[in-house]
């Protein structure tokens, strides 16, 4: 899909944009290559402005940007980049008086497809998102789940390399959410698209994205891969025990396994460097008649990463 030497899809350097006295974007620098990136941040941190910039609706005040190879500083560049970007808005939006297939086909034509191509593509993307017979019905009557899928379909019709998804699971029930997240994850991996997923739901972001950017007051407070940011801190394990727990603490102390914290029948344990696994812990519990009901590596959650990113001091 993308060659190793392909330019990054988004390359923003020291970009600023102000509205009157409000600095919406403040020397923002951001690079996005393939795959899915979660865009997080409190309300008012500049996400909306960044999205408008990525859609070629704004002229930056200063700094440079290259979005899907186009430069938003020029009018022609702004028009051109919209050919390479697909946008799934957060708000409830549709074109009145049309069925889904017409809506997607018309928007495809507006993106530059020929009428026949647009029709074919419209059917393909509607297949992909799972809107079957209902695509011929007036979309004003659609359920929330169908409307969300329609929004995704119209963002895909012109097969853009970059997709902006704003709260893709908004208003969806658990089944709908699951289906949508599967689609988004598929787009970022198997289909090789570059995605920017804006969401307040951190588990959604974890499910679909490999990297995150945390925006704060118009610049990127934190950036990196989720795996790196939520890295294991040392050899810490969280263990949930079952059964009689009284002998456990004594045994753990005896075996030299440090207990960092306790909460009910849950313990955070710190294993020695030499220990590659928890076999000895199992042996210990076996002898004591204590059950181990779950054992997992202690990673910081994305929520902690987010909070940390927000409270970080700015580099001078």
């Amino acid at each position: 899909m993308t060659s190793a030497s392909a330019a990054p899809v988004i390359e923003i350097h020291e970009l600023s944009k102000s509205y009157g006295s409000v600095r919406a974007l403040d020397k923002l620098s951001l690079t996005l290559e393939g795959g899915a990136v979660g865009l997080l941040g409190p309300n008012g941190a500049g996400k909306t402005t960044l999205i408008k910039l990525l859609l070629g609706l704004l002229v930056p005040d200063s700094g440079t940007a290259s979005i899907a190879g186009s430069n938003p500083a020029t009018a022609a560049g702004r028009l051109a980049l919209r050919r390479s970007v697909g946008y799934m808005p957060e708000s409830d939006c549709l074109i009145p008086g049309m069925s889904a297939i017409e809506l997607v086909a018309t928007l495809g034509e507006l993106s530059g497809l020929s009428r026949e191509d647009a029709m074919t593509r419209a059917h393909e993307v509607l297949d992909y998102v799972g809107l079957d017979e209902s695509r011929y019905r007036d979309c004003e009557q659609y359920s929330t789940g169908m409307k969300q899928r329609l929004k995704l379909a119209q963002a895909l019709v012109h097969d853009p390399p970059l997709l902006l998804l704003d709260e893709p699971t908004n208003g969806l029930d658990p089944k709908g959410r699951k289906h949508m997240l599967e689609l988004v994850a598929d787009l970022g991996t198997a289909q090789g698209k570059s995605l920017l997923v804006c969401s307040h739901l951190l588990p959604d972001v974890e499910r679909t994205c490999e990297r995150v950017v945390v925006l704060k007051a118009g610049h990127a407070a934190l950036e990196g891969s989720i795996a790196d940011l939520t890295q294991r801190r040392g050899r810490r394990l969280r263990a949930n025990f079952g059964g009689a727990l009284e002998p456990l603490d004594a045994l753990l102390a005896q075996a030299g396994i440090a207990v960092e914290s306790t909460s009910g029948n849950s313990r955070v344990l710190v294993l020695n460097e030499a220990e590659a696994d928890a076999d000895s812990l199992f042996a210990l519990c076996g002898r004591a008649g204590v059950r181990i009901e779950s054992l997992s590596e202690l990673r910081s959650s994305l929520e902690q990463v987010f909070l940390e990113g927000l409270s970080r001091e700015e580099p001078a």
């Binding site: 658990p174 959410r177 951190l202």
Partner: protein
Amino acid sequence: MSGALISSQGLSRWYGPVVGVNDLTLEVEGGIVGLLGPNGAGKSTFLKLVAGEIRPSRGTLAVLGFEPFANREYFRVLGFCPQQDALYEDLDAREFVSFLLRLSGFNAKEARARAERALERTGLKDAMLRRTAGFSKGMRQRTKLAAAIAHDPRFLIVDEPLSGLDPLVRSEMIALFQELGREGVHVLISSHVLHEIESVTENILLLHRGRLLAQGPVPEIRKLLSRYPNKVDIRARDARRLARALLELEGTSSVHLAPEGGRLSLETFDLARFHAELPAIAARERAGIQTLESTDAGLDAVFDYLVG
């Protein structure tokens, strides 16, 4: 029957031919309860019935001992935070909440004091004097929430309370619900976001097609779904050897080895036995177990199994 938060018998409500809730018979003890269900399951109808906005077509419903419909006594102890936005744009947040309190019968001074306290609790201390017209979605949510708790209700009903909130505020509001629960306030939270319900409470009410599908703490419900074997994920250095040993364990119905190695997924009908015997097996096989996790014990999996 006595002391239960919600108690209904044959509760039904329909709109012409469309059924909202169909013959619901349930008893909810109290505390913090999550109300879940796919779209069209009857959640909003149930909420409206419990909040006293509509009358049942048939059957009985008692909340805190009251019959909810148009019951002024009941409304005094009920706090309702609906999903829709219904703020008076010209008022500032404090005025709005005070106004609602005065409608409930508080005098001006007490209304203002309560409004300020409630708005502080929902994190709008700095913004309470601003007009709601300029509020973001998250701030509007919090204003509604403040209005619902300002009169110290005994029972709080919230419909999708966390929509539009960024993760920071989300966790603050979840903490608020937990705090209210500790204070003895009953809370009924309706939401589609399962992991948030999970972070607040274990007790759920699951509706589907207007009927009650399940009720109670999630782990207990899981145990009742005995026809679904329990799935466990294990990461181990020598997964294959461990797999062989686990296959011999009574109750194991399948073991699946991940193609990349180092991981196995197990299904067993006897989770208790599995937990009991695993330490001995681990010690014997020395397969290098690193992590162990039940993958279908949570609300997500339970919801899937029940709703399909």
